[in-house]
Symmetry: C2
Protein backbone atom coordinates (compact mmCIF):
# COMPACT_ATOMS: atom_id res chain seq x y z
CA UNK A 1 0.00 0.00 0.00
CA UNK A 2 1.49 3.29 -1.09
CA UNK A 3 2.08 6.05 1.43
CA UNK A 4 0.14 9.09 0.28
CA UNK A 5 2.64 11.90 0.75
CA UNK A 6 0.40 14.82 1.49
CA UNK A 7 1.65 18.38 1.46
CA UNK A 8 -0.49 19.36 4.44
CA UNK A 9 1.61 17.27 6.82
CA UNK A 10 4.79 18.92 5.60
CA UNK A 11 3.22 22.35 5.87
CA UNK A 12 2.15 21.63 9.43
CA UNK A 13 5.62 20.44 10.50
CA UNK A 14 7.25 23.43 8.84
CA UNK A 15 4.77 25.74 10.56
CA UNK A 16 5.90 24.56 14.00
CA UNK A 17 9.54 25.24 13.12
CA UNK A 18 8.94 28.55 11.38
CA UNK A 19 6.70 29.99 14.10
CA UNK A 20 9.55 29.53 16.57
CA UNK A 21 11.91 31.37 14.28
CA UNK A 22 9.48 34.24 13.88
CA UNK A 23 9.08 34.40 17.68
CA UNK A 24 12.84 34.78 18.02
CA UNK A 25 12.84 37.52 15.39
CA UNK A 26 9.94 39.27 17.12
CA UNK A 27 11.81 39.13 20.41
CA UNK A 28 14.61 41.01 18.64
CA UNK A 29 12.14 43.62 17.43
CA UNK A 30 11.86 42.32 13.87
CA UNK A 31 8.70 41.46 11.95
CA UNK A 32 9.56 39.70 8.69
CA UNK A 33 8.05 41.49 5.71
CA UNK A 34 7.50 40.20 2.17
CA UNK A 35 6.95 42.59 -0.73
CA UNK A 36 4.85 41.04 -3.48
CA UNK A 37 5.39 42.84 -6.78
CA UNK A 38 2.76 42.29 -9.41
CA UNK A 39 2.18 43.87 -12.84
CA UNK A 40 -1.44 43.65 -13.87
CA UNK A 41 -3.79 41.09 -12.34
CA UNK A 42 -3.50 37.71 -14.03
CA UNK A 43 -5.82 35.19 -12.34
CA UNK A 44 -2.92 32.74 -11.79
CA UNK A 45 -0.89 35.41 -10.02
CA UNK A 46 -3.85 36.46 -7.88
CA UNK A 47 -4.52 32.88 -6.84
CA UNK A 48 -0.91 32.30 -5.87
CA UNK A 49 -0.78 35.66 -4.11
CA UNK A 50 -3.84 34.86 -2.05
CA UNK A 51 -2.33 31.55 -0.94
CA UNK A 52 1.05 33.11 -0.23
CA UNK A 53 -0.44 35.89 1.90
CA UNK A 54 -2.55 33.45 3.89
CA UNK A 55 0.42 31.14 4.52
CA UNK A 56 2.79 33.99 5.40
CA UNK A 57 0.40 35.84 7.67
CA UNK A 58 -0.37 32.60 9.51
CA UNK A 59 3.32 32.52 10.35
CA UNK A 60 3.57 36.14 11.45
CA UNK A 61 5.06 37.45 8.22
CA UNK A 62 3.63 40.72 6.98
CA UNK A 63 2.88 40.90 3.25
CA UNK A 64 2.77 44.15 1.30
CA UNK A 65 1.40 43.99 -2.23
CA UNK A 66 2.86 46.40 -4.79
CA UNK A 67 0.51 46.30 -7.74
CA UNK A 68 1.44 48.17 -10.90
CA UNK A 69 -0.34 48.55 -14.23
CA UNK A 70 0.54 45.90 -16.76
CA UNK A 71 1.92 48.63 -19.03
CA UNK A 72 4.55 49.80 -16.52
CA UNK A 73 7.81 50.60 -18.29
CA UNK A 74 10.97 48.66 -17.61
CA UNK A 75 12.65 51.79 -16.34
CA UNK A 76 9.84 52.37 -13.85
CA UNK A 77 9.93 48.78 -12.65
CA UNK A 78 13.69 49.00 -12.14
CA UNK A 79 13.12 52.14 -10.06
CA UNK A 80 10.43 50.45 -7.94
CA UNK A 81 12.57 47.38 -7.28
CA UNK A 82 15.52 49.57 -6.31
CA UNK A 83 13.28 51.34 -3.79
CA UNK A 84 12.33 47.98 -2.28
CA UNK A 85 15.99 46.90 -2.24
CA UNK A 86 16.82 50.03 -0.27
CA UNK A 87 13.89 49.78 2.15
CA UNK A 88 15.23 48.24 5.36
CA UNK A 89 11.75 47.32 6.56
CA UNK A 90 11.32 44.86 3.67
CA UNK A 91 13.13 41.52 3.84
CA UNK A 92 11.93 39.55 0.85
CA UNK A 93 10.74 40.48 -2.65
CA UNK A 94 8.57 38.20 -4.76
CA UNK A 95 8.16 39.30 -8.36
CA UNK A 96 5.51 37.56 -10.43
CA UNK A 97 6.62 36.13 -13.74
CA UNK A 98 6.24 35.94 -16.66
CA UNK A 99 6.63 39.70 -16.97
CA UNK A 100 4.74 41.60 -19.69
CA UNK A 101 6.44 41.87 -23.08
CA UNK A 102 7.86 45.38 -22.68
CA UNK A 103 10.01 44.21 -19.77
CA UNK A 104 13.16 42.14 -20.22
CA UNK A 105 13.52 39.66 -17.39
CA UNK A 106 17.22 39.42 -18.26
CA UNK A 107 17.60 43.01 -17.12
CA UNK A 108 15.30 42.84 -14.10
CA UNK A 109 16.91 39.73 -12.64
CA UNK A 110 20.14 41.62 -12.03
CA UNK A 111 18.31 44.47 -10.28
CA UNK A 112 16.60 42.59 -7.46
CA UNK A 113 18.93 42.41 -4.47
CA UNK A 114 20.22 38.84 -3.98
CA UNK A 115 19.64 39.15 -0.21
CA UNK A 116 15.91 39.81 -0.78
CA UNK A 117 15.50 37.55 -3.79
CA UNK A 118 13.41 34.83 -2.10
CA UNK A 119 12.47 32.97 -5.30
CA UNK A 120 15.90 32.79 -7.00
CA UNK A 121 15.64 35.26 -9.85
CA UNK A 122 19.04 36.93 -9.47
CA UNK A 123 22.01 35.09 -11.09
CA UNK A 124 23.90 35.36 -7.80
CA UNK A 125 21.33 33.00 -6.27
CA UNK A 126 21.15 30.87 -9.41
CA UNK A 127 24.92 30.38 -9.25
CA UNK A 128 24.74 29.56 -5.53
CA UNK A 129 22.14 26.86 -6.14
CA UNK A 130 24.37 25.45 -8.88
CA UNK A 131 27.37 25.53 -6.55
CA UNK A 132 25.49 24.01 -3.61
CA UNK A 133 26.12 27.15 -1.57
CA UNK A 134 23.33 27.35 0.98
CA UNK A 135 23.71 31.07 1.60
CA UNK A 136 21.55 31.59 -1.49
CA UNK A 137 17.82 31.16 -2.02
CA UNK A 138 16.75 28.24 -4.20
CA UNK A 139 13.54 28.54 -6.22
CA UNK A 140 10.60 27.65 -3.95
CA UNK A 141 9.16 24.71 -5.91
CA UNK A 142 12.25 22.48 -6.10
CA UNK A 143 13.00 23.24 -2.47
CA UNK A 144 9.42 22.19 -1.65
CA UNK A 145 10.27 18.81 -3.21
CA UNK A 146 13.28 18.54 -0.91
CA UNK A 147 11.12 19.41 2.12
CA UNK A 148 8.65 16.73 1.04
CA UNK A 149 11.37 14.08 0.74
CA UNK A 150 12.91 15.04 4.07
CA UNK A 151 9.60 15.03 5.89
CA UNK A 152 8.73 11.54 4.67
CA UNK A 153 12.24 10.28 5.48
CA UNK A 154 13.15 9.51 1.91
CA UNK A 155 16.94 9.48 2.03
CA UNK A 156 18.24 10.18 -1.48
CA UNK A 157 21.90 9.55 -0.71
CA UNK A 158 23.46 7.31 -3.35
CA UNK A 159 20.04 6.54 -4.81
CA UNK A 160 19.03 6.88 -8.44
CA UNK A 161 16.69 9.80 -8.92
CA UNK A 162 15.15 10.43 -12.32
CA UNK A 163 14.09 14.05 -12.75
CA UNK A 164 11.69 14.39 -15.67
CA UNK A 165 11.95 17.95 -16.98
CA UNK A 166 14.86 20.36 -17.29
CA UNK A 167 13.25 23.73 -16.71
CA UNK A 168 15.11 26.54 -15.02
CA UNK A 169 12.47 26.87 -12.32
CA UNK A 170 12.19 23.20 -11.38
CA UNK A 171 14.16 20.47 -13.15
CA UNK A 172 17.66 21.94 -13.24
CA UNK A 173 17.76 23.51 -9.76
CA UNK A 174 16.12 20.39 -8.31
CA UNK A 175 18.91 18.29 -9.84
CA UNK A 176 21.42 20.50 -8.01
CA UNK A 177 19.57 20.29 -4.67
CA UNK A 178 19.41 16.49 -5.00
CA UNK A 179 23.09 16.32 -5.88
CA UNK A 180 23.89 18.33 -2.76
CA UNK A 181 22.16 15.52 -0.82
CA UNK A 182 24.31 12.98 -2.68
CA UNK A 183 21.67 11.55 -4.99
CA UNK A 184 22.69 10.10 -8.34
CA UNK A 185 20.64 12.32 -10.58
CA UNK A 186 19.49 11.62 -14.12
CA UNK A 187 17.88 14.53 -15.93
CA UNK A 188 15.36 13.32 -18.54
CA UNK A 189 13.39 15.41 -21.01
CA UNK A 190 11.47 15.39 -24.25
CA UNK A 191 14.53 14.31 -26.26
CA UNK A 192 15.46 11.42 -23.95
CA UNK A 193 15.48 8.02 -25.68
CA UNK A 194 13.78 5.19 -23.77
CA UNK A 195 12.58 7.55 -21.06
CA UNK A 196 10.21 4.94 -19.59
CA UNK A 197 13.08 2.52 -19.06
CA UNK A 198 15.27 5.19 -17.47
CA UNK A 199 12.49 6.04 -15.05
CA UNK A 200 11.76 2.40 -14.24
CA UNK A 201 15.42 1.90 -13.29
CA UNK A 202 15.35 4.76 -10.78
CA UNK A 203 14.60 4.53 -7.05
CA UNK A 204 12.75 7.83 -7.10
CA UNK A 205 10.95 9.60 -9.95
CA UNK A 206 10.29 13.31 -9.84
CA UNK A 207 7.91 14.45 -12.53
CA UNK A 208 8.38 18.10 -13.48
CA UNK A 209 7.62 18.10 -17.17
CA UNK A 210 4.47 20.21 -17.11
CA UNK A 211 2.53 17.65 -19.15
CA UNK A 212 -0.68 16.13 -17.80
CA UNK A 213 -0.43 12.45 -16.81
CA UNK A 214 2.66 11.81 -18.95
CA UNK A 215 4.22 9.55 -16.32
CA UNK A 216 2.17 6.43 -17.00
CA UNK A 217 2.33 2.92 -15.68
CA UNK A 218 5.14 2.19 -18.15
CA UNK A 219 7.44 4.62 -16.30
CA UNK A 220 7.00 3.13 -12.86
CA UNK A 221 8.31 -0.03 -11.24
CA UNK A 222 7.34 -1.65 -7.94
CA UNK A 223 8.30 0.12 -4.73
CA UNK A 224 9.39 3.46 -6.19
CA UNK A 225 8.78 6.86 -4.67
CA UNK A 226 7.00 9.16 -7.13
CA UNK A 227 6.93 12.91 -6.59
CA UNK A 228 4.65 14.92 -8.83
CA UNK A 229 5.47 18.58 -9.38
CA UNK A 230 3.04 19.10 -12.24
CA UNK A 231 -0.09 21.21 -12.02
CA UNK A 232 -2.20 20.77 -15.13
CA UNK A 233 -5.80 20.49 -16.24
CA UNK A 234 -6.98 17.11 -17.47
CA UNK A 235 -9.41 16.42 -20.31
CA UNK A 236 -12.35 17.19 -18.00
CA UNK A 237 -10.88 20.45 -16.76
CA UNK A 238 -9.87 19.02 -13.38
CA UNK A 239 -6.52 19.69 -11.74
CA UNK A 240 -4.05 16.88 -12.26
CA UNK A 241 -0.31 16.30 -12.09
CA UNK A 242 2.30 15.02 -14.51
CA UNK A 243 1.69 11.53 -13.13
CA UNK A 244 -1.23 9.31 -14.05
CA UNK A 245 -1.98 8.83 -10.37
CA UNK A 246 -4.78 6.26 -10.54
CA UNK A 247 -2.83 3.90 -12.75
CA UNK A 248 0.47 4.26 -10.91
CA UNK A 249 -0.31 4.59 -7.23
CA UNK A 250 -0.70 0.88 -6.43
CA UNK A 251 2.83 0.11 -7.58
CA UNK A 252 4.60 2.82 -5.63
CA UNK A 253 5.91 2.81 -2.09
CA UNK A 254 4.98 6.46 -1.79
CA UNK A 255 3.43 9.09 -4.05
CA UNK A 256 2.36 12.72 -3.81
CA UNK A 257 -1.15 13.71 -4.86
CA UNK A 258 -2.12 16.65 -7.09
CA UNK A 259 -3.66 18.81 -5.77
CA UNK A 260 -2.55 18.57 -2.16
CA UNK A 261 1.06 17.59 -2.75
CA UNK A 262 4.21 19.55 -3.60
CA UNK A 263 2.28 22.66 -4.64
CA UNK A 264 0.92 23.02 -1.12
CA UNK A 265 4.43 23.25 0.30
CA UNK A 266 5.72 25.93 -2.06
CA UNK A 267 4.39 28.91 -0.13
CA UNK A 268 5.80 27.47 3.12
CA UNK A 269 9.21 27.50 1.48
CA UNK A 270 8.57 31.09 0.40
CA UNK A 271 7.78 31.96 4.02
CA UNK A 272 10.91 30.12 5.18
CA UNK A 273 12.98 32.24 2.80
CA UNK A 274 11.46 35.51 4.00
CA UNK A 275 12.25 34.51 7.59
CA UNK A 276 15.78 33.57 6.56
CA UNK A 277 16.19 36.92 4.80
CA UNK A 278 14.98 38.70 7.92
CA UNK A 279 17.49 36.79 10.05
CA UNK A 280 20.34 37.62 7.67
CA UNK A 281 19.30 41.30 7.60
CA UNK A 282 20.20 41.76 11.25
CA UNK B 1 38.79 -1.26 -33.08
CA UNK B 2 38.37 1.85 -30.97
CA UNK B 3 38.83 5.26 -32.51
CA UNK B 4 41.58 7.02 -30.60
CA UNK B 5 40.13 10.48 -30.07
CA UNK B 6 43.24 12.62 -30.02
CA UNK B 7 43.17 16.19 -28.83
CA UNK B 8 45.67 17.29 -31.49
CA UNK B 9 43.14 16.81 -34.29
CA UNK B 10 40.59 18.95 -32.48
CA UNK B 11 43.19 21.61 -31.76
CA UNK B 12 44.16 21.69 -35.42
CA UNK B 13 40.56 22.05 -36.63
CA UNK B 14 39.88 24.77 -34.05
CA UNK B 15 43.06 26.56 -35.13
CA UNK B 16 41.78 26.89 -38.69
CA UNK B 17 38.53 28.41 -37.48
CA UNK B 18 40.06 30.67 -34.85
CA UNK B 19 42.78 32.05 -37.12
CA UNK B 20 40.06 33.31 -39.45
CA UNK B 21 38.29 35.03 -36.61
CA UNK B 22 41.49 36.71 -35.48
CA UNK B 23 42.11 37.87 -39.06
CA UNK B 24 38.70 39.51 -39.10
CA UNK B 25 39.44 41.19 -35.76
CA UNK B 26 42.82 42.36 -37.01
CA UNK B 27 41.19 43.82 -40.10
CA UNK B 28 39.04 45.87 -37.72
CA UNK B 29 42.13 47.06 -35.88
CA UNK B 30 41.80 44.73 -32.89
CA UNK B 31 44.42 42.35 -31.50
CA UNK B 32 42.87 40.06 -28.88
CA UNK B 33 44.72 40.28 -25.57
CA UNK B 34 44.64 37.88 -22.62
CA UNK B 35 45.76 38.99 -19.17
CA UNK B 36 47.10 36.09 -17.10
CA UNK B 37 47.00 36.89 -13.39
CA UNK B 38 49.18 34.76 -11.19
CA UNK B 39 50.05 34.98 -7.47
CA UNK B 40 53.34 33.30 -6.72
CA UNK B 41 54.83 30.72 -9.06
CA UNK B 42 53.40 27.26 -8.46
CA UNK B 43 54.88 24.77 -10.94
CA UNK B 44 51.38 23.67 -12.08
CA UNK B 45 50.41 27.24 -12.86
CA UNK B 46 53.66 27.89 -14.71
CA UNK B 47 53.21 24.76 -16.82
CA UNK B 48 49.65 25.69 -17.76
CA UNK B 49 50.69 29.28 -18.41
CA UNK B 50 53.44 28.19 -20.76
CA UNK B 51 51.01 26.05 -22.75
CA UNK B 52 48.36 28.74 -22.80
CA UNK B 53 50.76 31.40 -24.04
CA UNK B 54 52.09 29.12 -26.78
CA UNK B 55 48.59 28.19 -27.95
CA UNK B 56 47.29 31.78 -27.81
CA UNK B 57 50.24 33.37 -29.51
CA UNK B 58 50.07 30.75 -32.28
CA UNK B 59 46.60 32.13 -32.92
CA UNK B 60 47.57 35.79 -32.87
CA UNK B 61 46.38 36.46 -29.33
CA UNK B 62 48.71 38.57 -27.23
CA UNK B 63 49.28 37.37 -23.65
CA UNK B 64 50.31 39.66 -20.82
CA UNK B 65 51.37 38.02 -17.57
CA UNK B 66 50.62 39.89 -14.34
CA UNK B 67 52.66 38.15 -11.67
CA UNK B 68 52.21 39.18 -8.04
CA UNK B 69 53.84 37.96 -4.86
CA UNK B 70 52.03 35.08 -3.20
CA UNK B 71 51.47 37.30 -0.15
CA UNK B 72 49.49 39.95 -2.08
CA UNK B 73 46.55 41.18 0.01
CA UNK B 74 42.99 40.66 -1.07
CA UNK B 75 42.46 44.39 -1.26
CA UNK B 76 45.43 44.79 -3.57
CA UNK B 77 44.27 41.93 -5.80
CA UNK B 78 40.81 43.49 -6.04
CA UNK B 79 42.45 46.74 -7.10
CA UNK B 80 44.58 45.02 -9.75
CA UNK B 81 41.61 43.13 -11.22
CA UNK B 82 39.58 46.33 -11.35
CA UNK B 83 42.40 47.96 -13.31
CA UNK B 84 42.30 45.08 -15.80
CA UNK B 85 38.50 45.31 -15.99
CA UNK B 86 38.82 48.98 -16.88
CA UNK B 87 41.63 48.54 -19.39
CA UNK B 88 40.03 48.54 -22.85
CA UNK B 89 43.12 46.98 -24.44
CA UNK B 90 42.58 43.75 -22.45
CA UNK B 91 39.79 41.38 -23.55
CA UNK B 92 40.16 38.31 -21.34
CA UNK B 93 41.39 37.73 -17.79
CA UNK B 94 42.62 34.34 -16.58
CA UNK B 95 43.17 34.13 -12.84
CA UNK B 96 45.01 31.09 -11.52
CA UNK B 97 43.32 29.16 -8.74
CA UNK B 98 43.46 27.99 -6.05
CA UNK B 99 44.29 31.40 -4.59
CA UNK B 100 46.53 31.70 -1.51
CA UNK B 101 44.83 31.46 1.90
CA UNK B 102 44.61 35.19 2.63
CA UNK B 103 42.36 35.69 -0.39
CA UNK B 104 38.69 34.71 -0.45
CA UNK B 105 37.72 33.44 -3.88
CA UNK B 106 34.09 34.16 -2.93
CA UNK B 107 34.95 37.85 -2.93
CA UNK B 108 37.23 37.87 -5.96
CA UNK B 109 34.80 36.02 -8.22
CA UNK B 110 32.37 38.95 -8.09
CA UNK B 111 35.10 41.44 -8.97
CA UNK B 112 36.27 40.05 -12.30
CA UNK B 113 34.16 41.55 -15.09
CA UNK B 114 31.83 38.89 -16.58
CA UNK B 115 32.68 40.12 -20.08
CA UNK B 116 36.38 39.34 -19.54
CA UNK B 117 35.90 36.27 -17.38
CA UNK B 118 37.11 33.68 -19.90
CA UNK B 119 37.23 30.73 -17.47
CA UNK B 120 33.85 31.16 -15.73
CA UNK B 121 34.72 32.45 -12.29
CA UNK B 122 32.05 35.16 -11.97
CA UNK B 123 28.57 33.96 -10.85
CA UNK B 124 27.04 35.78 -13.81
CA UNK B 125 28.81 33.31 -16.10
CA UNK B 126 28.14 30.39 -13.76
CA UNK B 127 24.41 31.20 -13.88
CA UNK B 128 24.52 31.52 -17.68
CA UNK B 129 26.08 28.09 -18.03
CA UNK B 130 23.39 26.71 -15.74
CA UNK B 131 20.71 28.44 -17.79
CA UNK B 132 22.14 27.36 -21.13
CA UNK B 133 22.65 31.01 -22.09
CA UNK B 134 25.49 31.05 -24.61
CA UNK B 135 26.34 34.70 -24.05
CA UNK B 136 28.40 33.55 -21.06
CA UNK B 137 31.76 31.81 -20.88
CA UNK B 138 31.74 28.19 -19.73
CA UNK B 139 34.77 26.82 -17.88
CA UNK B 140 37.38 25.77 -20.45
CA UNK B 141 37.71 22.08 -19.56
CA UNK B 142 34.07 21.01 -19.89
CA UNK B 143 33.79 23.02 -23.08
CA UNK B 144 36.88 21.18 -24.35
CA UNK B 145 34.93 17.94 -23.84
CA UNK B 146 32.10 19.35 -25.97
CA UNK B 147 34.59 20.36 -28.69
CA UNK B 148 36.01 16.85 -28.61
CA UNK B 149 32.57 15.24 -28.98
CA UNK B 150 31.59 17.60 -31.78
CA UNK B 151 34.83 17.07 -33.70
CA UNK B 152 34.47 13.29 -33.62
CA UNK B 153 30.78 13.52 -34.61
CA UNK B 154 29.49 12.05 -31.39
CA UNK B 155 25.91 13.27 -31.32
CA UNK B 156 24.72 13.25 -27.70
CA UNK B 157 21.08 14.09 -28.44
CA UNK B 158 18.77 11.79 -26.52
CA UNK B 159 21.69 9.56 -25.52
CA UNK B 160 22.55 8.44 -22.02
CA UNK B 161 25.67 10.18 -20.81
CA UNK B 162 27.17 9.23 -17.45
CA UNK B 163 29.30 12.02 -16.01
CA UNK B 164 31.52 10.68 -13.24
CA UNK B 165 32.34 13.56 -10.91
CA UNK B 166 30.35 16.55 -9.75
CA UNK B 167 32.99 19.26 -9.37
CA UNK B 168 32.19 22.87 -10.04
CA UNK B 169 34.94 23.13 -12.63
CA UNK B 170 34.08 20.05 -14.65
CA UNK B 171 31.25 17.68 -13.69
CA UNK B 172 28.42 20.09 -12.99
CA UNK B 173 28.99 22.60 -15.82
CA UNK B 174 29.62 19.70 -18.22
CA UNK B 175 26.23 18.24 -17.26
CA UNK B 176 24.65 21.57 -18.22
CA UNK B 177 26.51 21.80 -21.55
CA UNK B 178 25.44 18.24 -22.37
CA UNK B 179 21.85 19.00 -21.41
CA UNK B 180 21.91 21.99 -23.74
CA UNK B 181 22.74 19.51 -26.52
CA UNK B 182 19.79 17.34 -25.41
CA UNK B 183 21.72 14.51 -23.79
CA UNK B 184 20.12 12.53 -20.97
CA UNK B 185 22.66 13.19 -18.27
CA UNK B 186 23.34 11.13 -15.17
CA UNK B 187 25.70 12.69 -12.65
CA UNK B 188 27.56 10.02 -10.66
CA UNK B 189 29.97 10.53 -7.78
CA UNK B 190 31.63 8.90 -4.78
CA UNK B 191 28.28 8.32 -3.05
CA UNK B 192 26.60 6.71 -6.08
CA UNK B 193 25.40 3.15 -5.45
CA UNK B 194 26.21 0.64 -8.20
CA UNK B 195 28.24 3.18 -10.14
CA UNK B 196 29.73 0.51 -12.44
CA UNK B 197 26.27 -0.56 -13.51
CA UNK B 198 25.12 3.02 -14.11
CA UNK B 199 28.15 3.63 -16.31
CA UNK B 200 27.72 0.36 -18.21
CA UNK B 201 24.16 1.35 -19.09
CA UNK B 202 25.26 4.67 -20.63
CA UNK B 203 26.07 5.34 -24.26
CA UNK B 204 28.86 7.70 -23.33
CA UNK B 205 30.98 7.85 -20.17
CA UNK B 206 32.80 11.01 -19.19
CA UNK B 207 35.29 10.48 -16.39
CA UNK B 208 35.95 13.61 -14.38
CA UNK B 209 36.48 12.26 -10.90
CA UNK B 210 40.15 13.15 -10.48
CA UNK B 211 41.06 9.62 -9.40
CA UNK B 212 43.67 7.64 -11.31
CA UNK B 213 42.32 4.72 -13.34
CA UNK B 214 39.09 4.48 -11.36
CA UNK B 215 37.02 3.74 -14.46
CA UNK B 216 37.93 0.09 -14.86
CA UNK B 217 36.74 -2.64 -17.16
CA UNK B 218 33.73 -3.13 -14.89
CA UNK B 219 32.41 0.34 -15.80
CA UNK B 220 32.53 -0.10 -19.55
CA UNK B 221 30.36 -2.02 -22.00
CA UNK B 222 30.93 -2.79 -25.66
CA UNK B 223 30.76 0.06 -28.12
CA UNK B 224 30.71 2.97 -25.68
CA UNK B 225 32.44 6.29 -26.14
CA UNK B 226 34.73 7.05 -23.19
CA UNK B 227 36.03 10.56 -22.58
CA UNK B 228 38.71 10.95 -19.94
CA UNK B 229 39.06 14.34 -18.28
CA UNK B 230 41.39 13.16 -15.51
CA UNK B 231 45.04 14.13 -15.26
CA UNK B 232 46.73 12.12 -12.51
CA UNK B 233 49.99 10.39 -11.74
CA UNK B 234 49.97 6.59 -11.65
CA UNK B 235 51.91 4.35 -9.27
CA UNK B 236 55.06 4.80 -11.39
CA UNK B 237 54.77 8.57 -11.51
CA UNK B 238 53.52 8.63 -15.09
CA UNK B 239 50.64 10.78 -16.30
CA UNK B 240 47.38 8.91 -16.51
CA UNK B 241 43.68 9.63 -16.68
CA UNK B 242 40.68 8.58 -14.63
CA UNK B 243 40.21 5.67 -17.02
CA UNK B 244 42.23 2.45 -16.97
CA UNK B 245 42.97 2.90 -20.65
CA UNK B 246 44.79 -0.36 -21.41
CA UNK B 247 42.06 -2.50 -19.89
CA UNK B 248 39.17 -0.57 -21.38
CA UNK B 249 40.21 0.58 -24.82
CA UNK B 250 39.42 -2.65 -26.73
CA UNK B 251 35.78 -2.54 -25.69
CA UNK B 252 35.07 1.04 -26.65
CA UNK B 253 34.01 2.52 -29.95
CA UNK B 254 36.07 5.59 -29.18
CA UNK B 255 38.26 6.77 -26.32
CA UNK B 256 40.43 9.78 -25.50
CA UNK B 257 44.02 9.21 -24.39
CA UNK B 258 45.76 10.88 -21.43
CA UNK B 259 47.97 12.72 -22.11
CA UNK B 260 47.02 13.94 -25.56
CA UNK B 261 43.25 14.04 -25.09
CA UNK B 262 40.87 16.56 -23.55
CA UNK B 263 43.64 18.42 -21.71
CA UNK B 264 45.21 19.35 -25.02
CA UNK B 265 42.05 21.11 -26.14
CA UNK B 266 41.56 23.24 -23.01
CA UNK B 267 43.88 26.07 -24.02
CA UNK B 268 42.25 26.19 -27.47
CA UNK B 269 38.94 26.84 -25.73
CA UNK B 270 40.62 29.51 -23.63
CA UNK B 271 41.85 31.14 -26.87
CA UNK B 272 38.36 30.83 -28.37
CA UNK B 273 36.94 32.69 -25.36
CA UNK B 274 39.50 35.50 -25.61
CA UNK B 275 38.63 35.93 -29.28
CA UNK B 276 34.92 35.91 -28.42
CA UNK B 277 35.49 38.51 -25.69
CA UNK B 278 37.38 40.67 -28.19
CA UNK B 279 34.50 40.40 -30.67
CA UNK B 280 31.96 41.35 -28.03
CA UNK B 281 34.11 44.29 -26.89
CA UNK B 282 33.57 46.10 -30.20
Amino acid sequence: MAVLMKGAEVVSAMKDRLLKEVETLNAGGITPVLAIVRLGARPDDLAYEKGAIKRCEGLGIRCRVFEYPEILTQEALVGEIRKLNGDGSIHGILLFRPLPGQIDENVIKYVISPEKDVDCLNPVNVAKVFEGDETGFAPCTPEAVMEMLAHYNVDVKGKKVAVVGRSLVVGKPLAMLLLKKHATVTICHTKTHHIEETCREADIIIAAAGKAKMVTDAFVSEGQIVIDVGINLDENGNLCGDVDFDKVEQKTAGITPVPGGVGTVTTSVLAKHVIQAAKWSK
